[in-house]
């Protein structure tokens, strides 16, 4: 009985995805129609220059945003977990939690309005003409990712006993030594998980990016979205299969690494 519920749910989750991957290898021009085995859509995908450019832009934005998010979110999570009650704690908590619960359209529109105001101010007072594009998307994604990293790091630090850090300090380690030799190694897995989460969120986002981008910045999700508006193409099918393969590989490697550490 219990297995049945799980099987139905997993079937619903996976059936569309697996069918899509299977039909990515179909030669037929119409998606989800079997026309014999072929790799032609993967070849077409690799040859699509605009798609390649958008993918490269998206990967660079995601890597930059995830790194910034990990730095800032790590600091925020640390302050929230370890500083006890300080002035501004409630404010930091609310602000760090806001991007997790705000609807995407609200986040996107409000950030765009900020960037427009900043552009106007920079032009009026400094004479700078700033554009919108990759940089504004990166700033927006770093802000969203940071909230997730802070949540993960804070949860990990709260679960960890602060006495380890206190013991190191009692034995004469300076604050920086404690951070380097005790705290950082303990929260490294959370930081890695947070980075990966921020990276994925950035690669997946179309709404916020559409709001804050300018005419120059078209990310891969923005491109896939406008393609899907017209209908599914076999190239998008192939792209999905590719993404799934990379994701499965990453999860498999992470699982292997965890298992190896567990047996040691």
């Amino acid at each position: 009985m219990r297995c049945l519920g799980l099987a139905i749910g997993l079937g619903f989750l996976w059936a569309p995805i697996l069918l899509m991957v299977a039909y990515a290898f179909s030669a037929d021009r119409i998606p989800f129609q079997w026309g014999g085995f072929s790799l032609r859509w993967f070849v077409a995908l690799a040859a699509n220059e605009r798609m390649r450019e958008a993918a490269s832009l998206s990967l660079r934005i995601a890597a930059g945003a995830a790194t910034l998010a990990t730095l800032l979110g790590g600091l925020a999570g640390w302050a929230l977990a370890r500083f006890g009650r300080f002035r501004g704690r409630a404010l930091l908590g609310v602000l760090a939690g806001a991007p997790l619960v705000l609807p995407e359209v609200v986040t996107g529109l409000s950030l765009l309005l900020l960037f427009v105001m900043a552009q106007a101010a920079a032009e009026a007072w400094l004479g700078w003409r700033l554009g919108r594009g990759a940089v504004t998307i990166l700033l927006a994604h770093a802000t969203i990712g940071m909230a997730y990293v802070a949540l993960v790091v804070q949860a990990r630090l709260v679960a960890l006993d602060a006495s380890l850090e206190e013991a190191a300090a009692d034995l004469g380690a300076g604050p920086f030594t404690v951070l380097r030799t005790v705290t950082l190694p303990l929260i490294a897995p959370s930081l890695a998980a947070g980075w990966l989460l921020a990276f994925t969120l950035s690669l997946d986002d179309v709404v916020v990016a559409s709001f804050v981008s300018g005419p120059a910045g078209t990310t891969l999700p923005m491109m896939v979205f406008s393609a899907l508006k017209v209908g599914l193409t076999p190239e998008v099918n192939a792209l999905a299969a590719l993404i799934l393969a990379v994701a499965a590989l990453a999860v498999g490697l992470a699982g292997l690494a965890l298992r190896r550490r567990g047996t040691e």
Binding site: P16, A76, L92, A98, V101, E104, F211
Partner: protein, 284 residues
Amino acid sequence: MRRHLLILGPPLAWLLLLVAAPLGILGLIAFAEAGPGVPPFIPPLAWEGGPVWQGSSESLATLLADSYYLEAFLRSLLTAFVTAALCLLLAYPMALGIAGARPGWRLPLLLLVLLPFWTGFLPRLGAWIGLFRDGGWVNGMLGLLGIGPLRLLYTEAALHAGMVHAYLPFAVLPLATALLRRDLALEEAAADLGATPFTVFRSVTLPLSLPAAASAFLLVFIPAAGEFVIPDLLGPPEALLVGRVLWSEFFQNRDWPLAAALALALLVLLLPPILLFQRLGRRA
């Protein structure tokens, strides 16, 4: 204290600049008057020797007066409610199955639930488009059973299939965590005292998991209420949900103050569920 400021300063400054300030500006622009220039509004607050208020509440008045917007809000809340309820209905047995599996199976099963999340949100919607389109895979299967062909894509059914598919992992996670942590001794005690498996579930397991179920429901409901992409790609063209209305006011009509007013109204409407969700999280 100085060291604390060094750690606290950068994230707090970042959040003030990129979360607090944008929301403040959003609230301000909701009271601006639309105008032709670039950006297409007249700033509500001007400086002429001193602060001068030249805003208007016209956009907010439009929201309240025009039933078009009211309907969009109601429809969004209803869609989010149905999505969250369906997710809960599917997720609960899944979470029970994961929690009841042998210890070595739990993590792989959980990963199977979460992996679709890593495959990309748009490709998954693409799959539904391919399955549901006229003459598509689902219609082919229905045809074998002698049904159809039916119009499936761009209907409420496609919209909800896409929504539930996208949000289901969010509902499974809190439920599975809570059910894994539960004290099995309580259920064993109930069974020892003669309760049937169904009674044990109804009187012990289910009541104890209600806070997690509420969390799971809200975790889906809150983002679903403002969803734009799924209704736009799968839903019927006439299904004007808030996310879509806001998008078209901003991108097609270039009425930024009205878009800001819509965002503000959505925020106010979602504030009670958001606060409730955070309260549940703090208790857990």
